[in-house]
């Protein structure tokens, strides 16, 4: 079920909310939590019920393993390290089987001239997210950092519908105490109002802004072979904005929906395109993924404690893993590699004591991110190179009306203006407005300072109405694919 669907907004969310709090009102706490788990699984199964057994067995397996890891070592016949290794391998194999089998087979066939048939497995929804969350749980159980929680709270931690599909990637330490807390078992209008506030902003970001950009992005990448310079930049910028508004819109909706149930999800974005360097960007973009990569990959690899060379190697490895986590493809790997390299360059630059003018630093960072997103979006290298080639060496086309006004080349035909990306001049207005929006306060900052006023009531009501009326387009969230 999509957050931006009528069935979610008008049926699932209100029904779940009212039944949950009704059960709590009747002091049926266990029943209310069980209902929330059931609702979350229903929400998950809405797409494809076939993968319900997968998430259930993954949950049971990890819970059992996590519990075993929290026992006293002396009582265990096998070492904790062996159990943890087994748990991590099992999770990674499960993820690898569904996500990377075809990628591996394709490359195997290419390398050895073999003809092993591809499996064409459909990627179970959210597998990348719930696998990461549960690996973190196992590692922390091994480290003795988990408390004993019952299965119901654990199931809620994994399946809680606002964060189930595309994060934020939550940590058991921040979630399970909230589910266990009795303070969260009553309706709180402060949370409800703030939740609705941020949910509406997220809905608008996704439905109105991201989906408007997606039309130009799809058309631009489909016609990558023939874009002129204006179209190519419009395409790449559109994707840069689409991805941000799509994913941060989703996260806002997730945070808002969770807040209705008094659950505070961690923030995932903090105006990432304001970043002045690449390290700053990764502190602001998909924060919960960065946190996971840092805590469970970069630091266990040695982090920055084993000399400069190891630090750079660890950084590169972490970003390669981050890249391939997003998708089984060489373009994702290259995207990860580029970001890893950029971080290394940044560290070297920083250690040498160099500083850049803020505006120049922002310009370089933003453009680096914009250019590398092209690899992230393109279906193959050729498509990415086509767009990049057009961005830098494409034909310069001048709008017909502008040409007429300037009396330039009036008899010459200069090719299509924005034809290949199905756009009109409005695209420039959208890009300009979006740039302006990026430099205002972000939605989370607004939510934090939220106070009920007539003005924000009117504003939020208007954007909700507009988003609801614009919701008829067919669009999934980009991060559902990862």
């Amino acid at each position: 079920m999509l957050f931006n669907s009528y069935e979610f907004i008008f049926a699932f969310l209100p029904l779940t909310f009212f039944i949950y709090f009704y059960l709590l009102h009747k002091r049926l706490i266990v029943g209310a939590k069980a209902f929330l788990v059931f609702s979350s699984l229903f929400f998950y199964s809405w797409w494809n019920i076939a993968y319900l057994p997968l998430i259930l067995s993954s949950m049971l397996f990890n819970y059992a393993l996590g519990n075993t890891l929290s026992y006293d070592s002396k009582k265990l016949k096998i070492s904790k390290k062996t159990i943890l290794t087994f748990g991590i391998i099992a999770n990674v194999v499960l993820l690898g089987y569904f996500k990377y089998s075809d990628f591996f087979l394709e490359n195997f066939n290419l390398l050895f001239g073999a003809d092993v048939p591809l499996l064409h497995l459909a990627l179970p929804l959210a597998i990348s997210f719930f696998t990461f969350q549960q690996i973190a749980y196992l590692v922390d159980s091994y480290r003795g950092e988990t408390k004993e929680y019952d299965f119901l709270n654990y199931a809620l931690f994994v399946t809680f519908f606002p964060q189930l599909i595309a994060g934020p990637i939550v940590h058991h330490k921040e979630m399970m105490p909230q589910f266990a807390s009795r303070w969260n078992l009553v309706k709180r209008y402060k949370n409800i109002a703030a939740g609705l506030f941020i949910f509406s902003i997220g809905l608008f970001k996704k439905v109105v802004i991201a989906d408007s950009f997606s039309v130009w992005v799809n058309a631009g990448f489909n016609a990558s072979y023939c874009l002129n310079i204006i179209e190519a930049w419009a395409t790449s910028l559109s994707y840069t904005f689409q991805l941000y508004f799509d994913f941060s819109g989703y996260t806002d909706m997730a945070i808002g929906a969770a807040l209705l149930f008094n659950i505070k999800l961690p923030i995932n974005f903090n105006s990432p395109y304001k970043a002045l360097d690449i390290q700053d960007f990764w502190r602001r973009w998909h924060i919960t993924l960065s946190r996971f990569l840092k805590e469970y990959i970069y630091i266990p690899l040695g982090g920055n404690r084993k000399g400069e060379f190891r630090t750079y190697t660890n950084l590169l490895l972490t970003f390669l893993i981050g890249g391939i986590w997003h998708g089984a493809g060489w373009t994702f790997l290259l995207w990860g590699l580029l970001h890893g390299l950029a971080l290394i360059i940044h560290r070297v630059w920083h250690s040498l004591g160099f500083r850049l003018n803020k505006l120049l630093a922002w310009f370089i960072t933003f453009n680096f991110i914009n250019i590398t997103w092209v690899f992230f979006r393109a279906k193959d290298f050729q498509e990415a190179l086509n767009v990049l080639h057009s961005m830098f060496f494409g034909e310069l086309v001048i709008d017909y009306h502008l040409r007429e006004k300037l009396h330039l080349f009036s008899d010459d035909y200069f090719g299509p203006w924005l034809q290949h990306i199905n756009a009109t001049n409005e695209i420039f207005l959208w890009i300009l407005i979006t740039f302006t929006l990026l430099f205002t306060k972000n939605s989370i900052e607004y939510m934090r300072s939220f106070k009920p006023t007539k003005l924000n009531l009117l504003f939020i009501s208007l954007i909700t109405i507009y988003a609801l009326l614009d919701m008829n387009k067919v669009s999934e969230f980009i991060y559902f694919n990862f």
Partner: protein, 342 residues
């Protein structure tokens, strides 16, 4: 203001507004989605050809002949088909149609038990390009979209609850107030209003070159920049499926490749890749079903007077196409105009 009051108002304002918009759209019903026409508006302003034509096919008795194809086709006069084949004809041509649209209409008619006796389909060279995506309005149309029902389901509500619907309702209502006697965009036979009035099938003697260089160059440039690497196998399969349905239900199926302006065709013939794709397409269609090939050079396609723009023929040309397909003995047409290919 308290949080509780804010929350209550937040629910009330959008709910009341959305309900009001829904009610307004339901009363005006710009896409003719319901059986009721509460204000008795004769000319519903639908922004989507597919929705309008599907609604018409639903509400009308079965037609004897159905014309399918893209915007090239809907300017042809369905009454000319009735003249040659007898019975009633509906022109179900829709903007930027691909073969999946044609199959979608046929499957939809089959479901309604309204399959016709004759089906005439105008096929476009461009629409077989593998890179060309399925039309988004087709995907949104739950009656036509046989590819992914889940995507289409959403749109029924959107016919009453969307910005497009609101605009269409407003435009319909203001049109109705200003011109209560205005006729709909498509007539009862699905053709554009002008097309239904044109019955002449004479040849033009003049040869005005009505397209500006700019217009022609734009089309030429577009043709040269489109990537036509492969003919879509999937669309050929859809065409096969159409012929299968026609065979199983004893429907006479007439296929033709729509004409484009001669100078444009010349550009395609000079582009090695495009020309190969065109020849391949003709071969592949021929293997599936015989067809009339109007994508040829001849005195009609070389005359710009027969075209509204370099890729869209006029209603007069539509009449000549039907005259050729249905062997009208009252007119002698150039041999190369509509070559029967089997």
């Amino acid at each position: 203001m308290t949080y509780k009051r804010w929350t209550l108002y937040y629910f009330t304002i959008p709910l009341v507004t959305i309900t009001a918009i829904f009610t307004f759209n339901f009363i005006i019903d710009p896409y003719s989605m319901t059986k009721y026409n509460l204000l008795e508006i004769p000319n519903k302003f639908a922004r989507d050809d597919r929705v309008e034509k599907v609604a018409k096919l639903k509400s009308s008795p079965a037609f004897d002949n159905i014309v399918l194809g893209s915007s090239r086709v809907y300017s042809s006069n369905p009454l000319m088909v009735s003249k040659y084949l007898g019975g009633s004809t509906y022109n179900a041509g829709v903007g930027t149609a691909r073969v999946e649209d044609d199959l979608g209409f046929i499957l939809f008619l089959q479901k309604l038990n309204k399959l016709p006796k004759n089906i005439i389909i105008g096929l476009d060279f461009y629409s077989f390009n593998e890179e060309l995506e399925t039309n988004k309005y087709f995907l949104k149309n739950e009656d036509l979209n046989f590819l992914n029902k889940k995507i289409a389901k959403k749109n029924y509500i959107a016919n009453f609850l969307s910005i497009d619907a609101l605009r269409a309702s407003y435009k319909t209502l203001s049109n109705f107030i200003k011109h209560p006697d205005a006729k709909p965009r498509f007539d009862k036979n699905g053709a554009s209003q002008n097309a239904s009035k044109i019955f002449n099938i004479s040849l033009k003697t003049t040869d005005p070159d009505k397209f500006s260089n700019e217009e022609l160059k734009k089309e030429i440039n577009f043709i040269k920049t489109i990537s036509y690497k492969k003919i879509s196998k999937q669309r050929l399969l859809y065409l096969q499926k159409i012929t299968k349905i026609a065979r199983e239900h004893n429907i006479n199926l007439y296929l033709y490749l729509t004409p484009i302006y001669g100078k444009l065709l010349e550009e395609i013939q000079q582009d090695q890749n495009l020309y190969i794709q065109l020849l391949k397409l003709k071969q592949k269609i021929r293997k599936i079903h015989p067809f009339y090939d109007f994508m040829t050079q001849n005195s009609i396609t070389n005359n710009s007077a027969y075209f509204n723009n370099p890729t869209h023929f006029t209603s007069e040309s539509g009449n000549l196409i039907y005259a050729k397909i249905f062997h009208d003995k009252n007119i002698t047409l150039p041999k190369e105009f509509g070559v029967y290919t089997k």
